[in-house]
Symmetry: C2
Subunit: 107 residues, 2 copies
């Protein structure tokens, strides 16, 4: 769960995104499931933020964080936890149900 983080990051630069994030190299099913879920939340966050016409700076302020962290959240950066993603979604008005829907639309 530590070695594989860099792999993912590498792949996404260069615009890979071959369907699901499951690389040929290394990731176990469990790691893949975890990453999918996380990426689903990332996308949901960006969507929701834009829909509400809020900048990263504004969101950051609202959740007591910084613009750079928001950018990292939306980029699916390894240094961001699912905890923070969910808290941010909730701060943007998402209910637990809405969060569930976001996860469901993973792939």
């Amino acid at each position: 769960m530590k070695a594989s983080k860099k792999k993912t990051k590498k792949l996404e630069r260069g615009g890979w995104k071959i369907g699901t994030v499951q690389d040929l190299l290394g990731l176990t099913d469990e790691e893949a499931a975890y990453l999918e879920l996380k990426l689903a939340l990332s996308r949901a966050l960006r969507q929701r933020r834009q829909k509400h016409k809020v900048t990263q700076v504004q969101l950051a302020k609202k959740i007591g964080s910084s613009q750079s962290r928001v950018a990292k959240m939306e980029a699916g950066d390894p240094s961001v936890s699912i905890d923070l993603l969910i808290r941010s979604l909730i701060a943007l008005g998402a209910t637990p149900e809405a969060v569930a829907r976001s996860i469901r639309s993973a792939k």
Copy 2:
């Protein structure tokens, strides 16, 4: 998000659980939503673990943790992150979809 943790803990001892966890005291809607979601995952974890006839010790080993941490997860202890809960569910075979369903059944 730090002051309110103790409140929740207190309430749950003594078997309160008045419907949803929203106390009269303090919790904002956002804190409440976060806690509901977390508790939903706690319950889902215990359910899934028992269904698979796995002890806390066995699960702990599987996820590289300890029995005490598993107990805390299932107790919804403040020291447990949603991240760890989700990782554990996945380790027990839950797909992102299944995780979403668990959250959806919050209350």
